[in-house]
Symmetry: C2
Subunit: 114 residues, 2 copies
Amino acid sequence: MNPVQFYKCLSDETRLRCLMLIQHEQELCVCELTEALQEVQPKISRHLGQLRQCELLLDRRQGQWIYYRINPDLPEWAKQVLGDTLAGNPDFLAQNLKCLQRMGDRPTRMQACC
Amino acid sequence: MNPVQFYKCLSDETRLRCLMLIQHEQELCVCELTEALQEVQPKISRHLGQLRQCELLLDRRQGQWIYYRINPDLPEWAKQVLGDTLAGNPDFLAQNLKCLQRMGDRPTRMQACC
DNA sequence: ACAGTATATATGGATAATCGTATATGTAAA
DNA sequence: TTTACATATACGATTATCCATATATACTGT
């Protein structure tokens, strides 16, 4: 993981909020992020695609929904950076989390059973 | 310190190398960074100016030279990010440190005496 | 005061990033 | 197989970022 590329991913407001929200909630689907950020779907989707292509995020499909999560194989320093950023900026997501909690009809997760 | 602005600062190769070199060496002047990165002086100076304006770096003049250092008043999470990045990417600066060590006539620091 | 060195800024042009809109793909349920 | 919903991609336009070059500023030593 090239650190410059890594930080380019974090340097956009939409992407950073998505990453922090996912870090906070473990896993979120596109429609939840769209609601939390109050943005149009293609914008969210485009940024998520970029984060997936850079291997910061992994996705899985469950029915109609696609859930994104932090790639657990990120190098340790990168995971620490994400963790430090979330912990050090408690207000950053406040509004987004409020929108998320207000959201009705959130898709119900099924644990991938094994 | 707005995290998006912070990461915008880290998302350029020249700026990230300058920051990491300064973090590694405590303090460096413009001509040392110019040599370490093998770049032209206005390019280095422009990026340092940006980092100073965003308050990631502080500068002090000593004679003809201007030394840059990490702003000690950065929020803890930001300092941790810089530290994690340096520690987690030992090869990132290898070539730059080699150039720095090869540099002749490095300006001699005077400790600000008190 | 003048010459030399270090650093900063200004300017115009090139490149890259981002966006809004329209549309395509994929899944589910009737 | 048709409709509805979730997500992804394509396209053109706008904006932001970065660069090279030229030049300005500031300090040092003569």
